[in-house]
Every structure is written in structure tokens, then in C-alpha cells.
Symmetry: C2
Subunit: 420 residues, 2 copies
């Protein structure tokens, strides 16, 4: 363990190098603050804490209101014995009450590092107890433990890092208390990084939430339910993934699909809700909803908004060039537009709407097949038909019920208490 | 200068303390990564860089595409001589081309620290030159300079910190090159903090942008222009500031005001655009737009969305209790609802709409005054009437022109090229 904490500054050609510890702490700080995904960050915090103290295993807990949430564990001995994937599958996210009965809870409340030589020798007078269930279940012997509170810049406890079984010369030893300042400094860096990652995550969620509301608002016009948007989103992501789209682009499509019809906000009821066929003039006005949508979504400057604009504009183009507004054909139609065109038409056919019941699935499939290479991209139709099981899982997860439609029928059912 | 960079680790009761430098670097790193406002962060970067190197003055530049943007300067001698506020007013944000002719540009491109003993002795063979204009204008003598590239974790140049006139024993000396690793480590911490702050800023802007689009979409229903939303937002912020609202809450109101009418998305054209008076049934349906709006905006979980929901629900309540949907009166109506009620009604009166011209300002003021304590909060009416100059500035900044209305009249004017 000593070797991992060598602390020295040395002179070299008159230039003062950053000594082992300073350099190491700065490198760790940079790595932590550059990692913006919270799960990835917590793994890194635990890994670096284990390296810094030579721990065989460890866990991270985050404070969540009046509870401590167990977030992740690493256990080198078990990883070596059973394989990392198997061991990770054994960990379950769980909640502990934020009180002094658990070691992590005690540390979070006392805000002090706790250094235990052997968890099976904790005096019975201590408020906290060690829970040996995990050890018994997995033939592991937890011995030494160092539990560190992570305090952010303003002194708020963000969570607890619990390190297990310090290793030295191949055996388990107590944690070396001489490094408590180093470990505290590390815990502060981790806390600030966690606070930042959470802020980013919250802001990102708020952004996506507001985009969904924009999609939802549009569906109000069309008397569609919010389940319709969710289904079209999920079908689109499924089709895209099978077509080879991956990573961030899948997420862009998810939200772009939710907003595809927002241009309907600009179309009058007389046209939008006309029971019979539209006159050529009315049809041409209706078709402008693609351009109105593109106008509402234009100029966002980020890839998600660009994808959304493209989908709003192109989701009524048809593979054979007979769609609108630009009569594009084949692969000239943006892929996301082709995907949402199929997902939206499929969902419209197999879902009930205010004015019509759902079509039977057999009939829907026949119609989709007959439009293969006419309305729809043939490759996407094949993907859809090959994944009907997954499609059905999505359909069942977001099934409409009567109450979803009631709100459109009669606003007097909308009670003030329901929105307060 | 040496004293600020003392580098040592010492043993104390067997506990290893973090030495001066390690502790200092970690403290600086934490302070930088905890500062999320970009302007505040840049001031802190410059201040800490000056402390670390004993510099009298300095500037920060950020890379912006093919340019370097001058962001901020500090100059202790001038602050002491003329007062900080005066000196800060003399700095102007400006752009430099990102090339080797300037010192900052050269450092950004070469990615190397540049240590100049005297900027008036730069050899003529050097690609960069010192621009003495500032010195002449302000009776300052720039002498030693240390220009440091800020590289993020992936080695991208984020910007340049330019430090001026190292001080030792009361006089200007060259910067001590022995600390180049320390200064580089600091610059990396600053770069990562800047990248994070920008990410947060961009994400925040994307969120607000999407909220504005939601307001915009709603105004499409009502054939209102986007200028109407901007005016109502600005009037609301003006009223709130004069009523003592400050800080983040003002920003919440700005966006809440933009979305106040989003419930109109759920009201049919027949009612929304009926030329004559509404029947009691139609009126009651129309009034549900406050509840529909609250429903679209509910459950956001952050203070901005909560404020938005409250405004959507309460902006048609009246001071005397004769409004809707809850017939609240006086201060039982949330302040933001009272503010938007006045801002919205005022703007409706003094702006043209698709179906009516603007009313003359004299008449508008008379109507607002006669509704003081009836429709409107009397305190807010007084504030509005006392600030008609500012109100007029807002009105002029967001004046509607004919083209803003054309898009509602005839969608065939909407050209595809305009939205691509």
C-alpha cells in the first residue's frame, strides 16, 4: 500500500516536478471531473479509492433524502474467482435507512472517517453493526474496512465510500490511518464530481422532459394520447437499432419521434378533424403541418433539435416519391424520417383513436406488407415484421385505456385537484 | 513568489498531511470545479493563477472557432490607482484571430507555455508581437509575461491565461520557470472546469430554448406572434423586479410567462376563434385552457416548471375574485399569476392582432387604471404606470411587422427553403 502513496517532490534541471502524490491527486481529480455519466463516475470513484488505499473490495452509497442508496460494488477476489459479469449480476441496488445502525449510515451522519480493523470484532456498544449476510452467501471474509464520507464544497454529505480488506504483501491488513487527509481530499473531489454529474443529469432530464411536453401538446390537437407518442418513440428506436443506428443518435431519434407531429398545432380543427375526405385545398393545407413543425423546431443548434426538425419535415415522404412536402424518394428521404413514417403509420393502424377502433393485427401486417417499397422503406418493413414480439411488448407497455381518451371528450372531467 | 509555492509534506502524530502544494492544488481544483457560472469561473481562474505565480495582472482568452475571445482582465496596480469598477469598465470584450501574430494566439497554436522576460524586448524574428496600445492608454508598463495554454483532458486547447508582471520584494521580475509543471497542472484543472461550465450552460440554454418553443407552439393556436411572448416575458420580469423579486426567481418567471397560454392547445378553433361573444357553455370550455395548461406543465419537479404550472393555472384570476378557474382574490392569487395577468392584458390591448389593430396608448392606460384593484393588483398597476418608459423600450424592441402575421394567413407562403 505504501508504494501507491509515495509522496515526494524532486528537482530536475531546476524544474520542480509535481511529486507522486500531488500529480496523482490532480490526475484523479481531472479524471473524476471529466466523467459526466453518473454510473461511470461512481465506478471510477470506487476504483481510484481502492487503488489509493490498496483495497480488495468496496461499495459506494449515495444519500437520497432520508435514505442511503447502494449504488455499486467491486470485489477483486470474487471477480477473479467467478468472473466480473457474474459477480456484478449478484449486486442489487437497494436502500438503507439513513441512520446509525449501518456502518455507511453512521459515517454519513457522523461525517467522520471510520477505520475498522475487523468488522467481526465491532464492540457491541457501537451503534452500528456489520451485516454478514453477503459474506455467508458468497464465501467471502470481510475483515478490515475504511468508510469515508464524501462531503461537497459546502460540507453536505453526498454519499459514503466503503473500502474493504486492505492488501499488503498478499494478505489482508488494517487500513493505514496515516493517509486519512489524502483519503479525505480524494472524497471531496469525488463529492464535487458527483454533484456536478447529478446537476448535468437533472438538467438533461429537464430538457428532455420539456421536449416530450412539446410532443404531448401537439397530440392534444390531434386527440392522441401520450401513450401514442411513447409507442411511436419506442417503435422508432427499435427499428433504428436493428438498422444499425447506435449511441447518442438513438436518443436523438427517441425525442425527435416524440415531436414529429408538432406542426399540427398550426392546422385548423375544420381540416384536422374533418370526418370525410379532404378537398384538394384542404389536403394541401394539411400537408403544411410538416413545414410548420420544421419551423417550430428550427434553429436549435444541437444535434437533437436538428434530428427533430428533419423528422418533422420528412415523416410524410414515401419511398416511391408520392409523399410530401418534397416528393423525395428512396434513400433521399432521411433515415429517421423513413423510420418515423413506418412507426407512426403502424401505430395509427393498430391503436384505437377517438374516432375509430384498433384494426386487427393480421390486417395491419397485410397492409404494411402491401405498402413495402411503395409507402415504406422495404428494409424497415422487413425489420418490423421480424421483430413483432418486441413490437408487441412495446404496445402492451403503453396501452391506452378509456381514461386516456376521456379528457378530450369533456373538459369538465378535468379537476383542479388533479393538476395542483 | 517562492512563499506561495512552498512544497512539502510533513509527518505529524504519524498522520501524513497534504503538503502546501498538494493541498493548495486540490483546494484550487475543488473551487474551480464547484463554480458553475462561466464568467465567475473565469475570474476565479485568473485570480488563482495570479496568486499561484505572484502576477500583478492578467487576462483570459477562450478559443471560439477560428478566433480567440478576450474574456476578462485583472490588473492590481490599476485597480489600486483608479478603483476596480473604473478599470473593469475600460476592458472591452474583443476577438483576436487564432494565429501566431499575437502572444495568446501563438500559445494557443503551439500548446506550449511562453515565458517572456520583457515584452518590449521580443526579438523581431518572433512570429508574435506585443501590442503596446493598452500600456500607452493607461500609463501601465507591461514587462514580464507568462502565457499558458489551457488544455482539457483530451488535449484540446480551451483557452489561454496570460499573466503579467510577476512581483517579488516589491518589484517586477521575470516569472519563475521552475514552476511550469505546477502551472500546467493548474491550467488543466481550469480547462476541465471551463469545459464543464460550458456544457452546463449549453444544456441550460437548450432547455430554455425548448420551453420557449412550447410557448411559441401555443401562440400558433392563438395566431399570436413570437414577439407577443417575448413582450409578455419582458413586461413580467420588469414588474417582478420592481416588486422585489430577484435572482433565479426572475428567470423562472421569464420562462413561465412565455408558456402561460399553452393550455390553448387544447381548445377548439370554433371557440378560440369565434368572432362574436361566447355562449356560457363555450366560455366555460374556454376557461379550461388554464387547467389544460397546468396539465401540460405538471410534474416537472423543478422550480421553473412549478412556477410555469402556477402561472398557467392562475393568470386569469382577478384581484376582486371574479376571475377563473378558482375565483381566488387579492394576495391569494400567486404573485407570478397576478404579474402575467397584467402583462398579458396590457400587451393584448396595445398590440395589433390578426383580427384587430392596436389600441392607442392613452386609451390602454385609462383602461388599466380603471381596472386597478378590480381585475389587476393595484401595486402592480402603479409599478407599470411608473415605468412606462421601460415598457415602451420593450414594446419597441419586439414590435410586430406584417411578415409576422402573414404566416398565419396563408401557409403557402411558408417556403421549404426557409425551414431547411
Amino acid at each position: 500500500m505504501e508504494s501507491s502513496l509515495s509522496c515526494h517532490l524532486h528537482d530536475d534541471d531546476g524544474v520542480i516536478s509535481l511529486g507522486g502524490l500531488t500529480g496523482q491527486m490532480i490526475r484523479i481529480g481531472l479524471a473524476l471531473t471529466s466523467t459526466r455519466d453518473l454510473d461511470e463516475l461512481l465506478e471510477l470513484v470506487l476504483l481510484e479509492a481502492r487503488k489509493l488505499t490498496g483495497a480488495d473490495a468496496g461499495s459506494v452509497y449515495l444519500v437520497d433524502g432520508e435514505s442511503l442508496r447502494f449504488e455499486t460494488s467491486q470485489n477483486q477476489s470474487l471477480f477473479d474467482r467467478l468472473g466480473e459479469e457474474t459477480v456484478r449480476a449478484m449486486f442489487k441496488r437497494s436502500m438503507l435507512p439513513l441512520d446509525s445502525r449501518s456502518i455507511a449510515g453512521h459515517v454519513a451522519l457522523s461525517r467522520q472517517i471510520l477505520n475498522i480493523y475487523d468488522v467481526y470484532d465491532i464492540p457491541s456498544a457501537a451503534p452500528y453493526k456489520f451485516n454478514p449476510d453477503w459474506d455467508f452467501a458468497n464465501a467471502y471474509r470481510t475483515q478490515s474496512m475504511l468508510a469515508i464520507p464524501m462531503l461537497d464544497q459546502s460540507g453536505v454529505v453526498v454519499g459514503v465510500v466503503q473500502l474493504i480488506n486492505a492488501q499488503a504483501r498478499g494478505e489482508t491488513v488494517p487500513f493505514d490511518y496515516r493517509f486519512k487527509h489524502v483519503v479525505s481530499a480524494f472524497a471531496s473531489q469525488a463529492a464535487v464530481a458527483i454533484v456536478n454529474a447529478r446537476l448535468t443529469q437533472d438538467l438533461h432530464a429537464a430538457w428532455l422532459d420539456s421536449l416530450f411536453r412539446l410532443g404531448l401538446a401537439a397530440e392534444y390537437r390531434d386527440k392522441e394520447t401520450s401513450n401514442h407518442i411513447k409507442r411511436v418513440s419506442e417503435y422508432s428506436v427499435l427499428l433504428a437499432r436493428c438498422a444499425g443506428v447506435c449511441g447518442e443518435e438513438l436518443e436523438h431519434l427517441r425525442w425527435a419521434a416524440a415531436m414529429h407531429d408538432c406542426g399540427k398545432l398550426g392546422i385548423s380543427d375544420a381540416i384536422l378533424h374533418k370526418p370525410g375526405a379532404l378537398t384538394p385545398d384542404e389536403r394541401s393545407t394539411m400537408e403544411y403541418h410538416t413545414l410548420v413543425g420544421a419551423q417550430i423546431l428550427q434553429g436549435g443548434g444541437n444535434p437533437l433539435m436538428k434530428a427533430s426538425q428533419s423528422v418533422a419535415l420528412s415523416h410524410h415522404e414515401k419511398w416511391d416519391g408520392s409523399g410530401y412536402p418534397r416528393q423525395l424518394s428512396g434513400e433521399d428521404i432521411p433515415l429517421f424520417g423513413r423510420i418515423v413514417a413506418l412507426a407512426d403509420a403502424f401505430d395509427a393502424m393498430c391503436s384505437r383513436r377517438v374516432y375509430k377502433p384498433a384494426h386487427p393485427m393480421g390486417e395491419v401486417i397485410k397492409r404494411i406488407e402491401s405498402d413495402r417499397g411503395k409507402h415504406f422503406d422495404p428494409v424497415l418493413v422487413d425489420i418490423l415484421l421480424e421483430h413483432l414480439d418486441e413490437v408487441d411488448r412495446i404496445r402492451m407497455a403503453y396501452l391506452d385505456n378509456d381514461a386516456d381518451f376521456e379528457k378530450f371528450r369533456n373538459y369538465s372531467l378535468l379537476k383542479i385537484n388533479a393538476v395542483l
